[in-house]
């Protein structure tokens, strides 16, 4: 019988390790991997995103593929990011439910918006959290994170 687990915060342990050792940690590049893939999923290529920011200020260009994030480069980066995130999740499932015991994985990107500069005295918990759920994808065998 297939069972669905609760959401598990995968990146938290990587982040804590990275912070604790001030970037001199074998988890620091893993943090970079997760961050880069989320950024690629949301914004596509960094350079294209910068061009988009300039070009799409003009409302007449709102329907162009670049402004709708449907250009080839953004699409490719997004697909690659989905592949990566699925593999990050698959590897994480190995230590959550046991090696190769998962059938499918699903990624949820949590976006925490901490208080703006004018409210800088407020704690992180006063910010807002939004979620982006990706589709279920088959589990893949990936080397373990140490």
């Amino acid at each position: 019988m297939t069972e669905e687990t609760e959401w598990v915060d995968v990146s938290e342990s990587y982040l804590m390790h990275h912070q604790q050792y001030r970037g001199i940690s074998p988890r620091s590049r893993v943090v970079k991997l997760v961050t880069n893939s989320i950024l690629a999923y949301m914004f596509g290529d960094v350079n294209v995103a910068m061009i988009r920011e300039r070009v799409c200020r003009d409302e007449k260009k709102a329907e162009e593929p670049l402004c709708k994030r449907e250009d080839a480069v953004t699409q490719l980066r997004r697909t690659q990011a989905e592949i990566l995130l699925a593999r990050v999740a698959s590897s994480a499932c190995d230590w959550i439910v046991g090696p190769a015991k998962s059938d499918e994985v699903r990624v949820r990107i949590a976006i925490h918006r901490f208080p703006r500069f004018s409210e800088r005295h407020l704690p992180d918990s006063e910010g807002t959290v939004g979620y982006m759920d990706l589709d279920w994808v088959p589990y893949q065998k990936v080397a373990a994170v140490r």
Binding site: Q19, A40, I83
Partner: protein, 462 residues
């Protein structure tokens, strides 16, 4: 006039400049690359392995060159990865630098291409700079082949080749510095156009992001409005001004000093050490040889001055009567090589001349001090000169350790070991196994005297 100008230009171009900086760069970059390999060693299969997080098929589809392309077997991956480590070590040590620099870059490039999703800005800049510096002489100083290089220069056997090589070297150094300037100017320019940087609040948003946040410390900066705004504007000003500051000696030194502070702060506060070390290693190229030599002379003078000051301080302390009262006579085995080496090491640590070492193999010693030869054979003895107290074994070791400042961290350990009775047992275990090689003076006709025999013969003679 023109001829003189051209001649001077020719002389400058055909003499390799910034050789010390190039060698410092080699060591700094080499160690930093090595740290990437070793720090991520346990993570290597996840980050770069054939079954790693970035699928092998995607890697093949998106990369045109990488050594890791040739096979998806784990054995092949491990071989290439470890050869990469070896190439980096040889490059850092300055062994056949012209060749190992190429190999190091090929292996590093291959690693970067295997998983481009984990790269930082520093990885990109160092790849470009290393490519330029393949044409530079990175091994003239502090390297395995440095001496050979200077011998070759003195022989001047191939002057044309040397001149050509020098021109390439100089242009490579200029290209690397230009790359650094471009990096600063473009990032500064982009920042200057950004809304958050214009408003002076960008540092707040960077330092509050989890990846770049230092819990408990970042808050000290970002909760201070003035500091946040000041640091934001200073960052943009520094990056935009950097290329222009290099044209004058004084401003160049200021730029280097500013950059050192700037990148050390980023490394520390934003947890980006690798990135910052890569950028700072390029700084080594900004300092001409004559400045390195002046710095070396200054450090040497400073070292002498400090050493002199410490020596005179020690001389003053040595004269204190309370310290003189702590003097200790140590009776050691002069036929035991381990004991002799230990005595030499202890003498170096005896800053206040509190220890006097005497070999009990000296025929006069046992009689003069009224010691027992058999016990001396078994254990080292010490005698406090003020009270004539005799200590042996672990107690003697403890007496010595108390008098030598560098050994103070060991005193509690020795004390506890002595209390538990373990210390004496360990001491006896080592003492019983020491190798005794009598000195030729104590051997007559192939017969060598032991301490007990020495005592007897001394008494007989007495």
């Amino acid at each position: 006039m023109m001829r003189e100008v051209f001649h001077s230009l020719f002389i400058r171009l055909t003499a390799e400049a910034n050789l010390i900086g190039a060698s410092v760069f080699r060591i700094a970059v080499g160690l930093n690359i090595l740290s990437i390999y070793l720090l991520n060693y346990v993570q290597r299969q996840y980050l770069w392995g054939p079954n790693g997080v970035w699928p092998f098929e995607e890697f093949l589809r998106n990369t045109w060159f990488s050594l890791y392309r040739f096979s998806d077997s784990l054995l092949f991956f491990e071989t290439v990865f470890h050869l990469g480590i070896l190439a980096t070590i040889l490059f850092t040590l300055g062994y056949r630098v012209r060749i190992t620099a190429i190999l190091n870059l090929i292996f590093l490039w291959s690693l970067h291409e295997r998983n481009p999703w984990i790269l930082e800005g520093g990885d990109n800049i160092i790849r470009i700079v290393l490519l330029f510096l393949l044409f530079a002489n990175l091994g003239a100083y502090f390297g395995y082949d440095s001496q050979r290089y200077w011998q070759r220069i003195q022989q001047n056997s191939r002057p044309l080749l040397q001149s050509f090589s020098a021109v390439l070297h100089n242009f490579a150094i200029i290209a690397a510095i230009t790359q650094l300037c471009i990096m600063y100017f473009i990032t500064g320019f982009h920042k200057a156009m950004g809304e958050m940087w214009q408003e002076g609040v960008a540092i707040y948003y960077i330092l509050r992001t989890r990846t770049f946040n230092w819990p408990g410390v970042s808050d000290l900066i970002i909760q201070n409005e003035w500091l946040t705004v000041l640091l934001t504007y200073l960052t943009v000003i520094f990056e935009l001004a950097f290329p222009f500051l290099l044209f004058n000696t004084i401003t160049r030194r200021l730029a280097i000093l500013g950059g050192l502070v700037f990148h050390t702060a980023i490394a520390l506060f934003m947890s980006l050490p690798t990135f910052q070390i890569f950028v700072l290693s390029v700084y080594a190229l900004l300092i001409p040889d004559r400045e390195y030599q002046a710095l070396g002379r200054w450090l040497q003078m400073w070292k002498f001055a400090v050493t002199d000051r410490i020596r005179s301080l020690i001389q003053i302390i040595r004269r204190y009567p309370i310290l003189r009262m702590q003097r200790l006579l140590v009776f050691y085995d002069g036929h035991c090589q381990l004991c002799i080496r230990s005595v030499e090491a202890l003498q170096r640590l005896d800053f206040f001349s509190l220890l006097e070492f005497v070999s009990f193999r000296d025929p006069q010693v046992i009689v003069t001090h009224g010691l027992n030869a058999q016990q001396l054979e078994r254990r080292m003895h010490t005698k406090t000169l003020r009270t004539n107290d005799i200590q042996e074994g672990i107690d003697a070791v403890l007496q010595i350790a108390i008098r030598l400042i560098p050994l103070w961290p060991m005193v509690p350990v020795l004390f506890v070991a002595r209390l538990l009775g373990l210390g004496q047992k360990i001491y006896d275990f080592i003492a019983r196994r020491r190798v005794i090689l009598p000195s030729p003076s104590s051997c007559v006709d192939g017969q060598c005297l032991r301490a007990a025999d020495t005592t007897r013969s001394t008494r007989d003679h007495g």
